[in-house]
């Protein structure tokens, strides 16, 4: 079944709307929260068994009669076997990683299986079904793919867990509103952002910039090695080339930091998306940047944690 197609077993869909959605931190599947109905194929199977029964009666032959009863027995057994696949299954959320709006995000789940579970399929409604062949006893991480449309702390739609194993005659399912929220950053879209005047902040940093203390990101110069210098700063390559012991001197590049703010000429959400894109761009370029939002200022800095902090601020900005 390809992506974009609705979940299978449409006969179970109208019913789902009327059945209660499971809530809670942990979903433990059992008689009270599992639902089961015959699939379309299950009804067709019964029709086939009935047809063989009629042929057996008409021809007074035992072969089709027995086969029709075997099919009927398989249908009745399937009712229990399909239900048994999900019974006892325990599902809880993992720790969702932040993601960008408009992009595919992975929502982690942990499935605990008591004995075995076959043909488990899942989807976040609405969405295509995903499945695995079989889950043995133990805990299994699952990653649900979904595409959040809005920034902020978001939860995907209800999770639908279902199986039709072993024969596809019944579909057994349960729906659960996943409890953990996932931090969603604004979708990065290129566009204008506002550069905030930073007079005060510039003065403070000017003195610090004059000192231009030794940084640690990339080395600028060499000087002869002295006792007490860290061996990690030794230019080993030059030493190997026979050019003597040299110590690397590090200094942060003297770049003009910028403080970014939403462009007031644009709608707020759009401006945040442009900011999200600009932050990512500056991060990739290794530049220093800061963020100025209503009631919040983040001083210019670099690095992944700084970027994440800025993006989180964008995601939760009101």
């Amino acid at each position: 079944m390809g992506s974009g197609t609705p979940p299978s077993h449409p006969q179970a869909q109208p019913l789902s709307r009327w059945l209660p959605l499971q809530q809670g931190e942990v979903l433990k599947l059992g008689l009270r929260n599992l639902y089961i109905v015959p699939t379309g194929f299950g009804w067709l199977w019964l029709g086939g068994a009935l047809f063989l029964q009629l042929v057996g009666i008409q021809t007074q032959s035992n072969g089709p009669v027995l086969l029709s009863f075997v099919m009927l027995a398989l249908e009745l057994l399937s009712l229990h076997l399909t239900h048994g696949q999900l019974e006892g299954l325990e599902v809880r959320c993992g720790q969702p990683e932040p993601a960008f709006a408009g992009e595919t995000a992975a929502y982690p789940l942990i499935v605990r299986v008591q004995s075995a579970c076959e043909g488990l399929e899942w989807c976040l409604t609405p969405g295509p079904l995903h499945g695995v062949a079989s889950l043995g006893p133990g805990e299994h991480p699952l990653a649900l793919e979904w595409t959040p449309q809005r920034r902020g702390l978001q939860r995907p739609g209800p999770l639908r867990l279902q199986t039709t194993a072993p024969l596809g005659l019944f579909v057994c399912w349960s729906r659960w509103q996943v409890p953990a929220e996932q931090l969603i950053y604004p979708a990065p879209k290129p566009g204008p952002v506002r550069q905030v005047p930073m007079a005060d902040w510039r003065e403070k940093t000017a003195a610090a910039g004059a000192l231009a203390g030794e940084g640690s990101e990339e080395w600028q110069d060499l000087r002869p090695h002295r006792r007490g210098d860290s061996s990690s700063r030794m230019a080993w390559k030059l030493l190997a080339q026979g050019r003597g012991a040299q110590t690397k001197r590090f200094q942060d590049p003297r770049l003009e930091p910028s403080l970014l703010a939403p462009d007031p000429a644009l709608p707020h959400e759009e401006a945040l998306e442009h900011l999200s894109d600009r932050l990512c761009l500056l991060h990739r370029q290794g530049q220093s940047y800061g963020l100025a939002l209503t009631g919040l200022q983040i001083a210019p800095d670099r690095g992944s944690s700084h970027r994440d902090r800025c993006l989180e601020a964008l995601a939760l900005c009101r």
């Binding site: 299978s8 047809f51 057996g56 009666i57 008409q58 086969l67 009863f69 079989s134 596809g168």
Partner: protein, 640 residues
Amino acid sequence: MPLNTVPLNTGPLNAGPVKAGGGWLPWLAMGLLTAAAWGVAPFSVLGALSLTLLVLTALKLREAQQRREFRLVSLLQLVTAGLFGAQQAELGSTLLQGLAVLVALAGLLKLELGGGTNLGTLLRRSGQLVLAALPMALVLFLLFPRLGPFSNLGGLGQFGAAATTGLSTTLEPGTIANLTMDRSPAARVAFPGGGPPPASQRLWRVLVHEHFDGQSWRSLNAGTAGSDATGTDTDGAAGADPNLASSQTPGATQVWLSEPNGLAEVPWSGEGLPLDRHLRRDGQGQLRYSGSVGVRKLYSLAAESSPAAWRRQAATAQDLQMAAGTNPRLETLAAGWRRQGSGGAKAVALAEEWFRQQGFRYSLTNPLLPQTAPLDALLFEQRQGFCGHYASALSALMRAAGVPARVVSGYRGGTWVEPLGGSAFLDLRQSDAHAWSEVWIDGEGWRTVDPTAWVLGGPTTVGNPAADSVHSPLGTAADPSGPLDWLARQWWGLDLAWGEWWLGFDQRSQEMLLQRLLGPYREWAGALLLVAVALTLALGLAVYGWLRRRGEGDHLQQELNQLLRSCARSGLVPQPGETLGQFGRRLRLARPLLGPELEDFVDLLQQQRYGRPGPPQRQGMDRLRRCGQSLRRQLRRSPS
């Protein structure tokens, strides 16, 4: 890490949308169904329906893309197998149909379990499912009320007609000669409580041909496929008595299993009381089966104290009807006999004397008889022929002599087979087809006269080695047979036993079973059925669960536990904290003879448990099992 906690799904982000596809299993099922289609009559209603369904299923499979389409294919395969089962109930065909059902179910399982499951596992799972379903299916099969056929849907025979090899209602020169080349089975008959009749009495009548047009003999009262019993029937079956069942009835002296042949008439000895409600004896001594004729027929006959009524059924004008002038020389000869004596007995004696004087020869390769005066050409020019020729000629001579006569076709002799399993039986092939005459003798009735016995080289001629072989008390002694023939006969024996058991259970058998189970409380049959279904459902679930647990546990741990149990019986128990390697070393010191195999066992087990997974693992598991078995055996032999 214990094997049972290794997660099967180690790459959650890679789990994509549900994939469809049954692999090549559906094609394997199609192949098996195609093989099972062998012998299905394509022009019968059911045959045409099942073959069309087979073709449509193959086309659907070819274009199937989605899971629901593959599911539909599996269901169509099951239905097709069932339709074939309605037409062919032989043991071999049934096994093939059953295998096709198993593979079709395995295809369904593959759709649900995913592509990583191998064929052996799928077939095993399929077998487990069928095994779990069988108890309930058998309960329903035995107890669910059986209905009679919907006769308004057309002729039963046409509905289920299958192969049409065999005798024909029109006996023409050469017809039976062609059949003698056909080694396909015609019927099998067992004689519960006794052996076969003497060789001279092994004439199995099927059709009576009373209409003679100067060239061929036709059976006017024969019921072809689809016709019910006609008004010529004289008596019904003793099966009307509810105390008499079909094949399982005590007192049955003949149990017949007749292959499908498109005829309503079935072979019998001419004597005996039918025990099946489908059977009727008509006034000419034909045994007619009113059920579906296109399928195998199982029926029984009981011994009858009085002679069969048909033998005394008075001759009619039809039995004297003669196309005058068609064979003038024959008529002239018969006219002379007519003048010499009166009554059938005298005419038969004169005919036998004349036949023996003429030096007729028995031959299967005759030139075609001419269109005009064919019997004149046979008797006065060619002087060689087959049983059909001589029976035609004698019956025509008798009629020309004013004696009522007719031709009977059926089978003669047969091979007595005593299989290793099951009851002994007489095997009749199409090559045993035979024709003879019946002549009305005043005061006696219809007498069987076989003119083939009067000609030179005939299979029934006294002194003929071929005749002797057939007539030997137990045909197998003189019957030339190789190992393949022997094997084939064992198979026929199984097939007969299967036919008796499988075809024998019908509505009447069910009534008898309910009578035995419930006695006067027949109204509780419905409750009994419901309770039995509930119990067998629980049983099926328990059996399935047990099979799954047994098949998918920790095999390595099971092997180790078995060995440790054997060791414990010998007083060798692992000490607390002792590892497998340490215990193995201690065991080797205590039992030096176990040394090399024990070392292998420990190595293999550790390699299996902690080694790299992959194909060699399976071979290693087999070696581990063999090793464990050998060690346990040695421990049993020397317990201390």
